[in-house]
Amino acid sequence: MISRKICVLGAFAVGKTSLTRRFVHGVFDERYLTTLGVKIDTKTVKLDTATVKLVIWDIEGADPADHEVQLVNSRMKAYLQGTDGILLVADGTRPSTVDVARDIHQWLLAEYPDVPVTLLVNKSDLADLWQVDHHALDGFDGLLQKFTTSALSGENVELIFFSLAEALTKNDEPPDGDR
C-alpha cells in the first residue's frame, strides 16, 4: 500500500491537533492542550486511483515570541525530514498567525521547495470573531491550495486531507508504486 507522510505546521493554538484528531478519530475537544513534540497518527484513505495510508505528523506549534530559538526550531526540522506534503495552518480569528504561516512558508520554499503545501485558515465556525480576509492571504506564492476549515464543524476537514493525498499520488506509476 502506498504511504505518504504529511506534516501539519503552524503557529501555536491554531488547531493543528484538532484538525488531525477530527480527521483521524472524528472527534473535537474545545479545550486547548498544547502539543510539545510531535503526535503521529495514521489513516488510510481510498482515492479513485489508489488507496493511500496517510502518516500525519502533528507538529508542535511555532512561537514567534520565543526569541531564543528560530521559528522553525531544531525539533521541527527533525520531524520534517522526508515529508511528502505539508498542511500549513493559521487561525482565522488571529491575524498574527497568518504572519507566522507566511514566515514558515518562506522557510519551506528554501528548504523543501518541491513539497506541496496547502494553506488552511482554521476556525471558520467563529464567524463573529473572524479577522482574516482575502487580501491578508496575499504573499503566499506557489501554494497547492488554500482553504478555510473548521475542526469544530468539520468544514473542509476531509477535503483537505483527500486533496493533498490526491496531489501526492497523482504522479505515481500505476498500482505497485510503493516507497
Binding site: S3, K5, F12, A13, Y32, L33, T34, L36, G37, V38, K39, I40, D41, T42, V55, W57, E60, G61, D63, A65, R75, A78, Y79, Q81, G82, T83, R94, S96, R179
Partner: protein
C-alpha cells in the same frame, strides 16, 4: 567507563541510570522486531513484541529517518497521551536499531510551562483585540451622539418658526378680540412652548457654548402671573397649594425674559412634579441691588449625596414613569450663571427644598436720567415713506439731526461720508435687509449704535437672529414713547 571508580560506577548504575528508562529495539531489514533489550531494569511497552512488526508511531519514525544517517534523534514522540519518548534511530551494521528513552516526566513539566505561556499569550492577544473594538465603538458612539445633537438643534430651530407665527396671531387677536383671555392664554402657552424648545436646544448643546442673552426690561408682574396660570391647574389637580408672591414694587429688572422664564419653568415644574402634598412657592425679594427668586416646596427633599448629581446633564432622580422632561437642572444652572446669578439649594430629606438665585436689578427711581437728544446724529434707513415720515417727525421734535436712506447702497454712501451716533433700519427693505445695513454701518463706524425696526414676529426671536449686530429692537407701528425709551436705552448702554 572503566576509568570510573567502582562505587561511582555502581552509583551511576543504581541511582542515576536506573531512573532513566531506556529500551533498545533491534530490527531486521523489514522493520520487524528481532530483539528487545532494557539495560537498566524493565520497561514493558505493550505493543513491542519480538517477532511482530514495529507498531505505530515508531514505524512512522523509522520510515521517515534518512537511511544515510548513522544516528538520528527524534525528541518528544508521543506514544500515547501520557507516554512520551525520545527516539534515537541508529543505522549501524546491516540493520537498524531504535533506542527509546522515556522522557515523560521532563515532557510533562515543560508541557505545563508551555501551556501556561501560550494561555497568557492568547489572553493578551484577546485583550488587545477587545481594546481595539472598544476604541472603534467609542468613536462610533461619539459620532452618533454628535449627529443626534445636531439633529435636535436643527429641529429646535424649525420649531421656532411656527411658534413665532402662533405668537404673532395671538398678539393680533389680543388687539382686536373682545375677550382678552383666550389670546392671553395662547400667548402664555406659546411662551411655554418656546421655553421648552429652548430647553431642548440647550440639552442638545449639553451646556457647551455660550448662551446668547438679549436683555431687556422685564415685566415681572406678567411673568409671575404667567407662572401662576401655567402651574395653577397642575398643582390644584395634585392637591397642592401654589403660592406666587407679588413682585416687589421697588425693583426694575433687566434681563433676558426668555431665559428667566426657562429657569422659573424648570424650577417650578420640578417642584410641582416631585411634591406630593403641601405647597409650592415662588417669591421674589429685592435687596441690595439684587432681586432674589426663591422656589420652595414641601416635597421629599434632596440628600447631600444627590446634591451634586442632580445638576449633571440629562440627570433624572428617579426613572419611575414620571412624565415630563425631568430635572433639567444642568441647563438651569448654566442659564442662571449666564444671567449673572448663581443657583443655590437648601434642602434636607423629608424637609422639602428651596432653590434660590439672584439677578442684578435696580430700583425704579434709579433709572438713568432721560438723555437730551439734542444734536444726536441719526441715520434712518426706511423705504416706506409713511413710516419714514412719522419717524422723522418724532426725531425732529427731539432735536435730532436726521439723515435718511432708502436702501443698503444709500446707507453705505452716507455712513461712509459722515459720522452717526445711531442708525435705525427697517428689517424688510426693498434693497438689502436691515441686518445687512446694520452690519455695513457697523463695519464703517464701529462706535455707532444700531437699532432694528420690524413689524412682525416676536421680538425675542428676532433678537436671537440679529442680536449680533443690533443693539436694540423696535416694533412697528412706532409710538413716540417706546421710540424714545429705546433710544435712551441704547445710548445709556454705550455710556
Amino acid at each position: 567507563m572503566t576509568s570510573l571508580p567502582m562505587e561511582t560506577a555502581e552509583y551511576l548504575q543504581t541511582e542515576v541510570l536506573m531512573d532513566t528508562r531506556c529500551l533498545v529495539v533491534l530490527l531486521d531489514a523489514d522493520g520487524r522486531v528481532t530483539g528487545l533489550e532494557c539495560p537498566w531494569g524493565e520497561w514493558p511497552l505493550a505493543a513491542l513484541r519480538i517477532g511482530s512488526a514495529l507498531p505505530e508511531p515508531l514505524r512512522a519514525v523509522l520510515d521517515a529517518s534518512p537511511p544515510d544517517q548513522a544516528v538520528q534523534l527524534y525528541p518528544f514522540i508521543y506514544l500515547d497521551d501520557s507516554q512520551v519518548v525520545d527516539v534515537h534511530v541508529c543505522a549501524n551494521g546491516a540493520n537498524r536499531q531504535l533506542i527509546l528513552r522515556d522522557v515523560s516526566e521532563v515532557h510533562q513539566a515543560e508541557l505545563k510551562f508551555q501551556q501556561k505561556a501560550h494561555e497568557v499569550s492568547l489572553l493578551l492577544e484577546k485583550q488587545a483585540q477587545l481594546n481595539r473594538q472598544l476604541e472603534l465603538q467609542k468613536v462610533e458612539l461619539e459620532r452618533a451622539s454628535k449627529a443626534k445633537s445636531r439633529f435636535i438643534a436643527s429641529m429646535s430651530h424649525e420649531f421656532r418658526t411656527p411658534i413665532t407665527s402662533i405668537m404673532g396671531h395671538a398678539d393680533l387677536l389680543s388687539r382686536t378680540a373682545s375677550d382678552a383671555n383666550p389670546p392671553a392664554a395662547i400667548q402664555r402657552a406659546s411662551w411655554h412652548l418656546l421655553t421648552l424648545v429652548e430647553n431642548l436646544l440647550e440639552e442638545a448643546r449639553q451646556g457647551q457654548g455660550t448662551v446668547h442673552l438679549n436683555p431687556a426690561h422685564v415685566d415681572l408682574d406678567a411673568v409671575l402671573k404667567d407662572m401662576a396660570a401655567l402651574f395653577g391647574e397642575q398643582a390644584r389637580s395634585k392637591g397642592l397649594e401654589l403660592r406666587i408672591g407679588a413682585s416687589p414694587s421697588d425693583a426694575s429688572l433687566e434681563t433676558d425674559e426668555l431665559r428667566l422664564r426657562q429657569v422659573l419653568i424648570n424650577l417650578l415644574g420640578n417642584a410641582v412634579r416631585y411634591t406630593r402634598e403641601g405647597q409650592v412657592e415662588l417669591n421674589t425679594v429685592f435687596s441690595d441691588d439684587r432681586l432674589e427668586f426663591r422656589v420652595s416646596d414641601t416635597g421629599p427633599g434632596i440628600s447631600e449625596s444627590d446634591r451634586e448629581r442632580i445638576f449633571k446633564p440629562f440627570m433624572r432622580l428617579d426613572e419611575t414613569g414620571q412624565s415630563g422632561a425631568g430635572l433639567g437642572l444642568s441647563i438651569t444652572r448654566h442659564l442662571v450663571d449666564a444671567m449673572g446669578g448663581q443657583i443655590e439649594l437648601d434642602s434636607e430629606p423629608g424637609r422639602g427644598s428651596t432653590f434660590r438665585f439672584t439677578l442684578a436689578a435696580t430700583p425704579p427711581g434709579k433709572t438713568p436720567i432721560p438723555h437730551d437728544l439734542e444734536g444726536l446724529r441719526v441715520l434712518l434707513v426706511e423705504d416706506d415713506p409713511d413710516a419714514l415720515a412719522i419717524l422723522e417727525l418724532f426725531l425732529a421734535d427731539w432735536g435730532v439731526e436726521v439723515h435718511s436712506a432708502s436702501g443698503l447702497s444709500e446707507a453705505q454712501t452716507l455712513a461712509g461720508s459722515q459720522g452717526f451716533d445711531l442708525v435705525i433700519s427697517d428689517l424688510n427693505l426693498d434693497e438689502g435687509s436691515g441686518g445687512e445695513v446694520l452690519q455695513a454701518v457697523r463695519a464703517l463706524q464701529p462706535e455707532c449704535r444700531t437699532m432694528l425696526c420690524s413689524g412682525s414676529g416676536v421680538s425675542s426671536v428676532w433678537r436671537e437672529h440679529y442680536g449680533g449686530f443690533a443693539d436694540d429692537f423696535l416694533m412697528k407701528p412706532v409710538q413716540p414713547d417706546t421710540l424714545r425709551a429705546a433710544i435712551e436705552r441704547v445710548l445709556s448702554d454705550a455710556a
